[in-house]
Symmetry: C2
DNA sequence: ATCTGATTGCTAAGTTGGTGAGTGACATTA
DNA sequence: TAATGTCACTCACCAACTTAGCAATCAGAT
């Protein structure tokens, strides 16, 4: 796609596959969120919260939006019972946003099938192959981070 | 992140790296679009159009939005001189949206650095390693498509 | 040749989810 | 203790989407 327009380009199956992966990976949250009746930001918020509680501002940073927007996200998720606000024990400015059972259930139900498939793909790799793939993925991630 | 909530999960460096890659890859267009003074949809449209001309409806499908939204995207891109509408030679219903020089320049300037870096990462792989990586990427893509 | 249905691209109106600015409460540093 | 910074929030505003519906055009069946 970009090949025609970027000078000094050599076609590569790997890069082509990477582009397709990234494209599809971007569509998945859209579709999953639609089915769950959530916005993509709400879904991503649930995903991030599944790794542990965090405040609205942390969420804002993770989602790449303003704290005002994150406030709204938490409002809507709380309204659906997917998360709960609780006061931070040590810092009384903060609010901890905690995933409820309903919230983690939502994440599990919607994303588990995909992760199961990904795990299967993963298991088809030998140990040395896994190392190669991981090195490539980390490298590609670094390359992308470089333009941020 | 999702590990805690998906039953029967085994930690894997590959999957972890994949998740990080996908997350970062989703942030890149946001940031690049911001710098270019475009919406993410507009940037993605430019990217898709760099592979060849297409109509607003095709664009809508590629972007995952309605044709009404795609109409607006083309309007705004045309307003900035990045694309041009021209009548389709054979089908008089259709409009072909064509990238202008300004448009392809925009794509090249904004995305070339990242692709250069990605090509470098790619070039560090041996031929057999490339095959392994590509097979994994294609497999992961199929796994994601399965939930769409 | 004409009817039917599908497709394309668009407009209009309404909804949504975001930003920017600003506030009060609290924490941290000088 | 004063100054500065951080957190979570509200408010007004706006960009970009949606749904609904339109006229023009095409393709297939009759």
């Amino acid at each position: 796609m970009v090949a025609e327009v970027v000078p000094g380009w050599r076609p590569s199956g790997t890069l082509d596959a990477l582009q397709e992966l990234v494209d599809v990976a971007a569509q998945v949250p859209q579709e999953v969120a639609r089915r769950a009746g959530l916005s993509t930001s709400e879904l991503h918020a649930l995903r991030h919260l599944s790794g542990g509680a965090m405040g609205p501002v942390d969420l804002a940073r993770a989602l790449g939006v303003t704290s005002a927007a994150a406030s709204g996200v938490v409002d809507r998720l709380a309204g659906r019972g997917h998360v709960e606000r609780r006061p931070h024990p040590d810092d009384r400015r903060r609010t901890e946003v905690v995933l409820t059972d309903s919230g983690s259930h939502e994440v599990a139900v919607r994303l588990a099938p995909m992760f199961a498939e990904l795990a299967r793909v993963d298991s088809e790799l030998g140990p040395d192959e896994q190392a190669v793939v991981e090195r490539y993925l980390r490298g590609a991630t670094r390359a992308m981070k470089a333009v941020l």
